[in-house]
Structures are given as structure tokens and as C-alpha cells.
């Protein structure tokens, strides 16, 4: 019942604790490091909460897999480059079926890129980063309060789906301070679904294709296909319970803007002129939900901090062409958005852009 000034990264950490997390392993990386720092401070006064600063992100993600198997709701936080290092283990977690949460506070890539600038270029990485086929569940909040709320949902979905669930954020949102009353956010917490290690079973947790008794099934295509569809269908069914999105702004407008994370807030001055579809569950995509909404609009514009990662997805979902405003190089500003809209001839009357502006847009 107390309103407080809370930072996005801080809200993620508080959400994790609320969800019952008792193990964090991580490696410092901007712009996610506040989550690691929060975890270390929390551990100092909460002996039931275990904290390990690792030697790298590969150790971090493998540690949370181990911590989860041992019985603790476990999580790590990183940014794009660190998330790249974690990819092999993400696939392992999907194969073995280990609930855990990976927070990716996005910056501008590729490579070391722009460590303190906001980007949204990790969408494909959260879906296709690891080897093989698997079903990712990914959420991307938009406010500090939502950082708290959807972190809890991420832990819940991880338990239900028995897989690593990704919570996306960005440098803008992670470092944003907003007044929020987190105590008012009430998300029921899902209990652990995986029997902790050494309670009497003799299970083999293996990334290798195996039969239920642990024998290798490395040349049995039928068994592989059976297991693959079983886990895909199970995770897809879980994801359906978490079909979060927002349909708002001026719903009667002719054009639908699709944007997510911090971007719709940056684009807020455009609210009278456009409808907004804001996916919160980024993966699996909200095909059914968008298919209901999209036909009402003559045009669709995807405004995002990458060169079309989500626009490509929307075209695939709807089988229709969409307009694009890519916000590149960390330039996630209303100035860049209006310039981008002008560039594609979609700038609402009443908005003027400075044609002589040196600002480059994608």
C-alpha cells in the first residue's frame, strides 16, 4: 500500500522474490547489473536466498539449471551478448525440462555494440538462439510496475511449462524510475512443479536424446519426434494461459501501430492518431489475437528497436504487408519515430518534422 520510486531492474528483482525465487547466479553486464547487485544485497540478509557471482554467463545459466534441479526457483539476468553465451544451455533447459527465468535487458547489438543504449534486437535470439526446435515463452513488459508483474508470470510460466522462460526488458525500461505501488499487484504464485534432486528417485537429467529409462535414443527418430511434439504441445498449451497483450490508444483510427516494451511509451504523443497493439507475450506469437484485431485497420506500422525482427513476424502471422519504422543505434525517441513515419509517408497531420534535421533514422 505504499507508492515508491522504483527502478525497472529493481522491480524485476522484487518480482522474482515475490514469485519465490531463492537462487540467483549472474555475471555483471550493462544494462542489467542492478539485478545482480540487488540479489547480492538481498542474499546478505536472507539466508534462504542463495547468490553466486559467476565467472561468465555460461556458468550463470548452467548454475540456474542446477539450482532449479536442486529445488530452488532460480534466475539470472543479462543483456544481449551474455544471452548469446547462454544459448546452448537454453536449449538444454528445454530438452531436459528445467523451469528457470532468464532476464535479458536489451542493449544495441551485435557484438559489444552500444552497452548503455536501448535496443530491441534480441527478439529472434529469444526464439531461435539455441540449436534445434523448441518452444520459447517470452514476455516483455512496458512499465516498471509491469516489470514486477510479468516477472512473477515468467516464473509461473516456467514452472508450468518446465522450461527456461525469458523476460525481456531494455536499457530504457531497466533504468527507468517510476512511482509504483508493487504491493497492489496481485499475481498468484505457481508452486514448484519439479521434484527436487535426491528425494528418493534415480532420474537421469540428460541433454542427449534418451528413453525414459536413461538409455540413449540417439538413433530413434520415432522416439525423438514423439518427445518433441509432446513438449511442444505442452508448452504451447501453457503459453495460451499467458496470452498477454494490450489493444488501445485510438481504436477507431485507420492505422494500427504495433510496438512493445518501452517503444509505445516513447510513441505516446501519437496516441490520438493510431490504434495500438502491444504484445506482452512476444513468443509464442499472438496469432489468434492479432488475427482478430488487424482486419479492422487499413494499414499496420511496426515500430521497433530492430531492423524488422517483429515486422517480419507480423507479416508472417497476417500474410499481409506492414510498414516499418526501425529505431536503430539506440535512437528510441519521438523525434526518430516521427522522422521514420514521415519517411514512409505516414506522419499524422499536425506533426511537423524538421527536414533539415541531421538525425538519421533506419
Amino acid at each position: 500500500m505504499t507508492k515508491k520510486l522504483v527502478q525497472g531492474n529493481e522491480a524485476v528483482f522484487k518480482g522474482a522474490v515475490k514469485a519465490g525465487a531463492t537462487f540467483f547466479a549472474g555475471y555483471p553486464i550493462s544494462p542489467s547489473s542492478e539485478i545482480l547487485a540487488q540479489a547480492s544485497v538481498h542474499a546478505a540478509s536472507h539466508p534462504e536466498f542463495r547468490f553466486l557471482q559467476e565467472e561468465d554467463e555460461i556458468a550463470s545459466v548452467n548454475a540456474i539449471l542446477g539450482g532449479s534441479l536442486a529445488g530452488a526457483k532460480s534466475f539470472t539476468a543479462t543483456s544481449g551478448p551474455g544471452f548469446s553465451l547462454m544459448q546452448e544451455a537454453v536449449g538444454y533447459g528445454h530438452k531436459v525440462g528445467i523451469p528457470c527465468v532468464i532476464v535479458n535487458v536489451m542493449r544495441v547489438g551485435p557484438g559489444t555494440g552500444m552497452p548503455t543504449m536501448p535496443g530491441q534486437g534480441d527478439l529472434n535470439q529469444t526464439r531461435y538462439g539455441s540449436t534445434g526446435d523448441y518452444t520459447s515463452i517470452v514476455f516483455y513488459p512496458s512499465t516498471v510496475a509491469e516489470c514486477y508483474e510479468y516477472t512473477i508470470h515468467a516464473f509461473n510460466a516456467a514452472e508450468e511449462s518446465r522450461s527456461p522462460v525469458i523476460l525481456l526488458s531494455d536499457a530504457f525500461l531497466g533504468h527507468l524510475n517510476e512511482v509504483a505501488d508493487l504491493d497492489e499487484i496481485d499475481v498468484p504464485v505457481v508452486a514448484r512443479t519439479l521434484e527436487p534432486l535426491a528425494k528418493g528417485s534415480t532420474r537421469l537429467f540428460s541433454g542427449v536424446a534418451t528413453y525414459p529409462d536413461g538409455e540413449p535414443a540417439t538413433a530413434d527418430s520415432d522416439e525423438f519426434i514423439r518427445q518433441y511434439y509432446e513438449s511442444r504441445d505442452q508448452r504451447q498449451a501453457v503459453a495460451e494461459k499467458y496470452a498477454f497483450y494490450e489493444h488501445g490508444w485510438n481504436k477507431d483510427a485507420e492505422t494500427l501501430v504495433i510496438a512493445f516494451g518501452i517503444t509505445p511509451r516513447v510513441a505516446r504523443p501519437l496516441a490520438p492518431y493510431f490504434a495500438l497493439f502491444r504484445p506482452i507475450r512476444i513468443w509464442p506469437t499472438l496469432d489468434k489475437e492479432l488475427a482478430e484485431i488487424a482486419p479492422r485497420y487499413k494499414k499496420i506500422i511496426v515500430i521497433e528497436g530492430s531492423d524488422g525482427q517483429y515486422a517480419n513476424v507480423v507479416e508472417r502471422m497476417l500474410l499481409r504487408r506492414v510498414e516499418r519504422v526501425p529505431l536503430l543505434g539506440g535512437r528510441m525517441s519521438i523525434e526518430a519515430i516521427t522522422l521514420g513515419l514521415d519517411h514512409i509517408g505516414m506522419l499524422p497531420a499536425g506533426f511537423a518534422v524538421d527536414k533539415t534535421s541531421p538525425v538519421k533514422v533506419g
Partner: protein, 261 residues
């Protein structure tokens, strides 16, 4: 209880080649587990990729067959979350010293209270016999046709970089010393590493001139000698245990950055 209760004998025969040394390690590990009262409620096995990694599947314990090189982060996290468990890592030299080398440095630095049994066959066996981090200089392998260029990694030196750690060198021929080393390693309060020389006849031994697995075992018999009592450092082909200053139990499992200090 008996030794055989530690094993899933219904899954035998194992996938290991005839003459492989890994089964000799599993046998002694099972024997030690029986002696120490280790069972599925107080002990977990963490194994890495490579032939050695299959050991977890054949033992009557909860077992995590990790990604290649990632035994130690998984094991250390399990020990941190469940300090009451015995956490035993069994993995090969390639998994431990090459792809997992960075984790080895840091698990040792943190004095994580886990036991590592390293099946050291000086080769990448499962992938067909490529040179590995422990392959002796000059060895002909399928990835070093003119002989390996570099000296092997100094496992003893890496382990000894933490003054509170435990290092043992043994061979699969020397069953008594191997059992003693494994037992003391599990009982050691802190990071313990058992470096077990073990033959790979199929993908190494024959290429370097051994006619049979028995020839390799006989080579261990003649080449390896017990280190003098009280040795603080083992020379090449010396059997023995080098112990640092033991830290109180639990010191390595406390919160913070995992430091044992």
C-alpha cells in the same frame, strides 16, 4: 546394502568399449559409496559430455548429464542450494580441462565443496581420438599426425592454486590407491580433485603402440610409483594425495560471492 546396489546393472552391458578404463573407476566409486553410506537420498552425480558422462546413467543415483564442459557450474549451484548433499562430478579430461577449463579455475578459487573425479585418458575418445588438453607433447593422434606441439595442462598446478584444495593422482591399475583417493576426496571439506589415468585402447592406445588394454594397464603398473609420504607435490607418474589446509565445513557454501575465505 552392497556395491551392486549402487549400479543399474539391468542397463549393462555399458556402451563403453571392451578394455575401457571407465568401468574400473565406476566400480571403485560404487565401492566407496557403499563404505561411506552414500545413497540416492544424500548424493547426486554430475557428469559431463564424453564417454565418462555415461556413468551417471548406470548408477542408482539422481544424475545430471550436463552440457559439454558445464559440470562444475551445475554441481556448484546444487551444492549451494542443497549443502547437505554430497555432490560428485565425474567427467573426462577434455570436458574438465579444456571446454570447462574456465569453470575449473573458478570452482577451485571458490573452494566449492564438491568432488571431481576426472577420467584422464589423455585423448578425446568419444569423437574418435583427437589431441586433448592432457595429451602428452609429441603424441600422434588423428588431429596431430606429426605429434602434438604443446605440453599438457598442469592439472595439479591449477588445483594447487587454491591452498585449501585436495589433489590426488592415481591410475585405474592401482585400485587400492584409487579407492583411497576417491574416499578421501569425498570426505574432504572443500574442492577435491582426483586425477585418474585411464586407458582408451580403441581411440588412443593402439595408435601409440599398445597392443591391448592390458598392455596399457601394465604400463601404468611399471611407470607409476607411489610418491614419498608427506609429498607436497607429485612428480610425473607419481601416485599420491596432496592436501592443502582444510577449511571448516560449510565455509564454501555461504552466501556472497561464494568465496571460501
Amino acid at each position: 546394502m552392497a556395491v551392486k546396489d549402487k549400479l543399474k546393472t539391468d542397463l549393462f552391458p555399458t556402451i563403453w568399449c571392451p578394455g575401457c578404463g571407465i568401468g574400473l573407476i565406476m566400480q571403485q566409486l560404487a565401492s566407496v559409496m557403499d563404505d561411506l553410506g552414500l545413497d540416492k537420498t544424500n548424493t547426486v552425480l554430475i557428469t559431463g559430455i564424453g564417454c565418462t558422462g555415461r556413468m551417471g546413467a548406470y548408477m542408482n543415483f539422481e544424475s545430471v548429464y550436463t552440457l559439454h564442459g558445464r559440470t562444475l557450474p551445475v554441481a556448484e549451484a546444487i551444492k549451494m542450494v542443497r549443502p547437505e548433499l554430497n555432490v560428485i562430478v565425474v567427467s573426462g579430461d577434455g570436458d574438465t580441462a579444456s571446454i570447462g577449463g574456465n569453470h575449473l579455475l573458478h570452482s577451485i578459487r571458490r573452494n566449492s565443496n564438491i568432488t571431481v573425479i576426472c577420467n584422464n585418458n589423455e585423448i578425446y575418445g568419444l569423437t574418435g581420438g583427437q589431441a586433448g588438453p592432457t595429451t602428452p607433447k609429441g603424441t600422434t593422434t588423428i588431429s596431430s599426425p606429426a605429434g602434438t606441439t604443446y605440453s599438457p595442462v598442469n592439472l595439479q598446478g591449477i588445483v594447487a592454486s587454491n591452498p585449501n584444495s585436495f589433489y590426488a593422482k592415481t591410475t585405474v591399475y592401482h585400485q587400492g590407491p584409487m579407492k583411497k583417493a576417491i574416499k578421501e576426496a569425498i570426505q574432504w571439506p572443500g574442492f577435491a580433485f582426483v586425477d585418474v589415468a585411464s586407458q582408451c585402447i580403441e581411440n588412443n592406445g593402439r595408435r601409440i603402440g599398445f597392443a591391448s588394454a592390458n598392455d596399457m594397464l601394465q604400463n601404468y603398473r611399471t611407470e607409476y610409483k607411489a610418491a614419498p609420504p608427506g609429498s607436497k607435490h607429485l612428480e610425473r607418474h607419481q601416485l599420491g594425495i596432496v592436501k592443502g589446509e582444510p577449511l571448516p565445513v560449510g565455509a564454501s557454501a555461504k552466501n556472497g560471492n561464494g568465496s571460501g575465505e
